[in-house]
């Protein structure tokens, strides 16, 4: 046990001796360069998030962006709700107008069209005649004559 205690004491003493050795100090010049590099990296990230192209846009586009950021984004939920209502109204309107067109297509024609149709029907009836035959027969073709009849005709000429 005495040896263990001595050994333990020696270990502690050895550790103390090691701990007493001062580590080297960080060079003074590193502070400025490291912090500047860190700041530059942070600034580069900010520049990438806000590209200069936006700042060079035409005035109208900038105004639109400004309106967007100041008017729309702060109340975007309300604007989205309003837009949904308007879209619903438009869809409903379109669907109702399609139905009305279909209804119009099935109504009776105007009176003028009806009279013209009736006149056509009368004309058709007159053309068909009293028998009611709808088709006009072609002129009757004479039946071919026999040779003896044709010979008699030739001999008389």
């Amino acid at each position: 046990m005495m040896n263990d205690e001595t050994s333990g004491t020696n270990n502690e003493a050895f550790e103390q001796t090691l701990r007493a050795q001062n580590v080297r100090q960080i060079p003074d010049g590193w502070r400025e360069s490291i912090l500047r590099a860190a700041q530059n990296a942070s600034d580069e990230d900010c520049a990438q998030m806000h590209p200069t192209a936006i700042r060079e846009c035409p005035l109208s586009f900038q105004m639109i962006l400004k309106l967007w950021h100041e008017l729309i984004l702060p109340a975007r939920r309300y604007w989205a709700g309003l837009a949904t209502i308007w879209v619903s109204i438009v869809i409903l309107n379109v669907s109702l107008s399609d139905d009305s067109h279909a209804t119009i297509a099935t109504t009776l024609p105007p009176s003028e069209l009806l009279m013209a149709y009736q006149q056509q029907q009368q004309l058709l009836a007159e053309l068909n005649g009293p028998t009611g035959q709808a088709a006009v027969k072609p002129p009757k073709q004479p039946a071919p004559r026999s040779r003896s009849e044709r010979h008699n005709d030739i001999s008389t000429v």
Partner: protein
């Protein structure tokens, strides 16, 4: 009024520098990793918000970044481990010649330790972390942290015994 980044640098950069210099055994690598850490802090200001204690959290960042760097360096790092460590001054200069000799030998002995033992020894002796904090920082089990420290300290004691006994005699 200093910025948050400046405050972090003033409070923790020295500890990070000492750890990284001991771990990487290369001053330029140490600077690269230190800069990488502060760039990360500048880009993600909320990084430390969830950390219970800033120092162990930053040391963990440093450790992981150093490992990544050493993996990227690959074979060149191994050669530097073998041949470049003698020139590295990991400890502050001193006017006492015995102490100077001891510090030089200590730096060389630390270089001969495996990187994982060297990291634990440094965090225990010179960063003042507990074994629990070391385990959290290096993301290893508590028993592993303790055993690595014990093995590393034994090797240092064996290597430095002659010089250590001379220093004790002189005192």
């Amino acid at each position: 009024m200093p910025s948050e980044l400046e405050r972090l640098y003033d409070e923790h950069a020295q500890a990070l520098f000492a750890f990284l210099l001991n771990f990487t055994r290369d001053e330029s690598d140490t600077r690269d990793v230190l800069q990488e850490i502060f760039i990360k802090l500048a880009r993600q200001p909320d990084l430390l918000t969830s950390a219970r204690d800033e120092r162990p959290f930053l040391l963990r960042l440093a450790h992981n970044a150093a490992i990544d760097l050493m993996r990227r360096r690959g074979t060149r790092a191994k050669h530097h481990e073998q041949f470049g460590a003698e020139q590295l001054a990991a400890f502050a200069p001193t006017d006492d010649p015995d102490e100077a000799a001891f510090r030089t030998e200590l730096a060389t002995a630390l270089c001969d330790l495996p990187a994982d033992q060297r990291a634990v020894v440094h965090l225990k002796l010179w960063s003042g972390l507990t074994f629990e904090e070391i385990a959290t920082t290096l993301e290893i089990p508590l028993n592993t942290a303790a055993s690595r420290y014990r093995y590393g300290l034994d090797k240092l004691r064996t290597r430095l015994r002659p010089l250590y006994e001379e220093i004790k005699k002189a005192e």
